[in-house]
């Protein structure tokens, strides 16, 4: 049984696949995928997650709106959120962190960097 549950919210199937590949290297981490913010919220309502990895630019509901909603959810308001996006500008980073994201990683990603950040936020050695 997995010790930790991670929700990946990303509209690009290719990126989702890459993130799943990367996070599969962390033992005892179960990964669930959602393809946009609304799907993400639906999955968050049905289960408890220990960490959320989300994109910013997504159809229907973007990552920033999702962060706002998660931070008011009593179950997940403390859950670490990692933003993975192509938006590299400092103001985008600042905005995401101000809304409650715990980390901000820009694409193209390097799997070891994502793995390290997830481990750090889950306090896995």
């Amino acid at each position: 049984m997995a010790d930790y549950a991670c929700l990946i919210i990303e509209d690009s199937p290719m990126m989702r696949q890459l993130l799943v590949f990367a996070l599969a290297r962390i033992r005892n981490l179960r990964v669930t995928e959602a393809d946009d913010g609304v799907d993400g919220l639906r999955k968050l309502a049905g289960a408890r997650f220990d960490i959320i990895v989300t994109d910013i630019n997504m159809p229907i509901m973007d990552g920033l709106k999702l962060i706002r909603r998660v931070r008011t959810d009593p179950v997940h308001k403390e859950t670490p959120i990692i933003v993975i996006t192509t938006e590299g500008a400092e103001e985008d980073r600042h905005r995401a962190l101000q809304l409650g994201a715990n980390a901000y990683i820009t694409k193209p990603i390097q799997a070891p960097q994502v793995i390290a950040k997830v481990k750090e936020l889950l306090r896995i050695s």
Partner: protein, 285 residues
């Protein structure tokens, strides 16, 4: 009574004899005094000798203790020296292990990075042929370029049948006005097509590339035939330089993107009708 009888009365004694008696008494007194003094001196000397003997014994005992202590110190020093040697050997071994561990960690990181790159290449290769519709291929191409390469502005050029110019069939991040037709051999894009040789900037100015000075121009091939060019004009601001994996992406796209586009284009031209089994049989492969 007897004594009284034997001693004659004083008045009647001979003065010489009396003097002799005195001398004798004085001598005896002197002798006794000297004897006493000598005895006292001997006693003192004896006491002194005893004291010195005791002191010598005590000193001897102290010396023995010191000697024993010196032996212990010598032993201790020898043990310390041995321990120092052991410590030095252990430190040297520790440094060796540490160096090996660092080398291992470095190799591990390299392997992890390589694995990550291979995973990206695998996903990209899978995605590019995952669809046979032109918009689907373009969407996947866009995802690969933006999400994996970090391209912000780019265009796909294919050779036109009319006039032979390179025509941008798809572009992103640049206005229509900025992306115009290119003659083969003209500029970086035209040269990449004419020579079949790709251009990839090694500068850290790829975030600010232009139509005239793109960040990369990759010939698109079907088999050995160059049919177009993939031009990357600019990258996202966090992508300051192309890395080794990007060259692999360019190789992959150069060899696969045109084939995927051609297959999707042919299928679209045939109104989505797939070739039948007979078609392949008639080819006589």
């Amino acid at each position: 009574m007897t004594e009284r009888k034997s001693r004659p009365p004083k008045s009647r004694r001979d003065p010489a004899a009396t003097s002799l008696d005195h001398e004798r008494d004085a001598f005896i007194q002197t002798f006794i005094r000297k004897g006493v003094r000598l005895t006292q001196e001997l006693v003192r000397e004896n006491e002194d000798l005893r004291r010195r003997l005791s002191e010598a014994e005590s000193e001897n005992a102290q010396l023995k203790i010191h000697l024993r202590r010196d032996d212990a110190v010598r032993e201790l020093l020898s043990t310390i020296e041995k321990l120092e040697q052991e410590k030095s050997a252990l430190l040297s071994r520790f440094r060796e292990v540490e160096a090996r561990s660092n080398a291992f960690e470095e190799t591990y990181s390299e392997v992890e990075a390589e694995l990550s790159n291979l995973a990206s290449l695998y996903v990209a290769a899978r995605q590019i042929h995952a669809t046979v519709t032109v918009p689907g291929v373009m969407r996947h191409l866009k995802e690969i370029l933006e999400q994996l390469v970090g391209a912000r502005a780019y265009a796909v050029y294919l050779r036109s049948e009319r006039g032979g110019d390179l025509v941008p069939v798809f572009h992103q991040g640049m206005s229509d006005r900025d992306v115009r037709n290119v003659r083969p051999g003209e500029g970086v894009i035209g040269e990449a097509f004419a020579n079949g040789t790709g251009y990839v900037s090694e500068d850290d100015t790829i975030t600010e590339g232009t139509f005239e000075a793109p960040a990369a121009a990759i010939p698109l091939r079907i088999d050995d035939r160059v049919v177009g060019v993939l031009a990357v004009f600019q990258t996202f601001e966090q992508k300051r330089r192309f890395m080794s994996v990007d060259f692999e992406f360019f190789k992959l796209l150069g060899g696969q993107a045109a084939a995927a586009l051609a297959a999707a284009g042919l299928l679209a031209a045939a109104d989505g009708k797939l070739p039948s089994a007979e078609f392949y049989v008639e080819l006589g492969i």
